[in-house]
């Protein structure tokens, strides 16, 4: 039953992805590799769409993955799966709010989990980088390092990185602007 599996997979993601935003990405990557529901490249496209549309990124990702896997019911079930753990946990926490806020053990657990979540997202980034920046098939064929690297992608990466980190004012622009710029660049050079 694919709908039940979708619900369950996203339930797990909602339960263990700490911190919101990109935190769901490593879980989705592992999910795609294990189930074969979507590829790493499709995941990168979904991240782009989720960043450029309204709504929390995690929720957008769940809807998109669910839709890709099993149509509209899939989108609904994946989204419900993602939010069920939050919903239940918050209902519990709201009852014992004061105790929760001063619980030492929880504090200590999150002290350890937060850097782990950052590490997981970094690893997911490495995987996306490999797909986008490296042409491993060409490298296996020719053995030349120059064939391994996708030079156009590297150049665009450098430009976007500088724009989003170093240029005053520009770096505060919304990500959707940079996504649009990159799309235009991709069309202009006929594929990166």
């Amino acid at each position: 039953m694919i709908l039940l599996r979708l619900y369950w997979e996203f339930f797990k993601t909602g339960l263990f992805a700490i911190g919101g935003g990109m935190a769901t990405v490593p879980f989705l990557q592992e999910m795609g590799a294990r189930t074969g529901w979507f590829t790493g490249q499709m995941l990168a496209d979904m991240i782009a769409v989720s960043e450029s549309t309204p709504g929390p990124i995690g929720v957008n990702m769940a809807t998109y993955v669910g839709w890709t896997t099993a149509g509209l019911p899939g989108g609904v079930l994946a989204t419900l799966g993602l939010i069920t753990p939050s919903f239940l946990v918050i209902l519990l926490v709201a009852r014992v709010l004061a105790a929760f806020q001063s619980n030492k053990t929880l504090d200590r657990a999150f002290y350890g989990m937060r850097p782990a979540s950052t590490g997981l997202i970094a690893a997911a980034g490495v995987a996306v980088l490999r797909i986008v920046m490296l042409d491993e098939a060409a490298f296996a064929e020719t053995g030349a390092v120059s064939a391994l690297l996708n030079w156009r992608a590297l150049a665009l990466f450098a430009v976007i990185w500088v724009l989003t980190n170093l240029v005053p004012k520009v770096k505060t622009w919304h990500p959707v602007v940079f996504i649009a710029l990159s799309a235009a660049a991709g069309i202009a050079v006929g594929g990166i």
Binding site: P56, V59, S86, M133, G186
Partner: protein, 190 residues
């Protein structure tokens, strides 16, 4: 907690649903991007929560599982109208995503083979790499605060690149490590 009327009215639930649907539709990116919108819609317009309460909800959202936007909606919905209110607000905040993403996914799947769309996405994927890198750097500054957290970060990064272990395992082990490290520090009186 003790409400004068036992049954929250349908109108109240509808209001919660639509207010949070607006919040969802007006937010790009979730998390902190949502705070100013919540302040306007929920604090100023509706008076459902004070600014300080919002900050508390955010802090708790940071250290509970799941999407922060959803956590905050559940909190405020529950406070206004109990469990039914929590459900109405939570479903409201994800409703725009469901509609918008489904429409875009349907549209894109029809155009996926058009060369211009393919080329556009080949550029967009590069941008996604930069966005992930930027997100990691930002999170790094907030979450890697001393030697133990640095070691946890590095261990998780290396192990999850090199192995196929589930992220769940890393999160659970890191929680245990966090508890152990802090307990040891406490005993040594650091």
């Amino acid at each position: 907690m003790k409400r004068e009327e036992n049954k929250p009215r349908l109108r109240e639930l509808g209001e919660l649903f639509w207010t949070f649907a607006r919040v969802g539709a007006l937010t790009f990116g979730g998390g902190y991007a949502m705070l100013p919108i919540l302040q306007r819609e929920v604090v100023e317009r509706k008076g459902w929560a004070a600014d300080e309460e919002l900050t508390d909800y955010y802090a708790i959202g940071q250290c509970t599982p799941g999407v922060i936007a959803v956590n905050t909606a559940t909190f405020i919905g529950r406070k206004q109208a109990g469990v039914a209110g929590a459900a109405a607000a939570t479903l409201g905040v994800v409703f725009p995503s469901l509609v918008i993403i489904t429409a875009i996914a349907a549209l894109l799947s029809g155009f996926a083979e058009v060369p211009a769309v393919k080329h556009a996405f080949s550029g967009i994927r590069v941008c996604v790499c930069v966005l992930i890198l930027n997100a990691v750097v930002k999170l790094w500054k907030k979450t890697v605060v001393d030697l133990p957290t640095l070691l946890i970060f590095l261990a998780v990064l290396v192990l999850s690149v090199c192995t196929k272990l589930s992220p769940v395992i890393f999160v659970l082990c890191a929680a245990a490590l966090g508890i152990a490290v802090k307990a040891l520090e406490g005993r040594r009186g650091v």
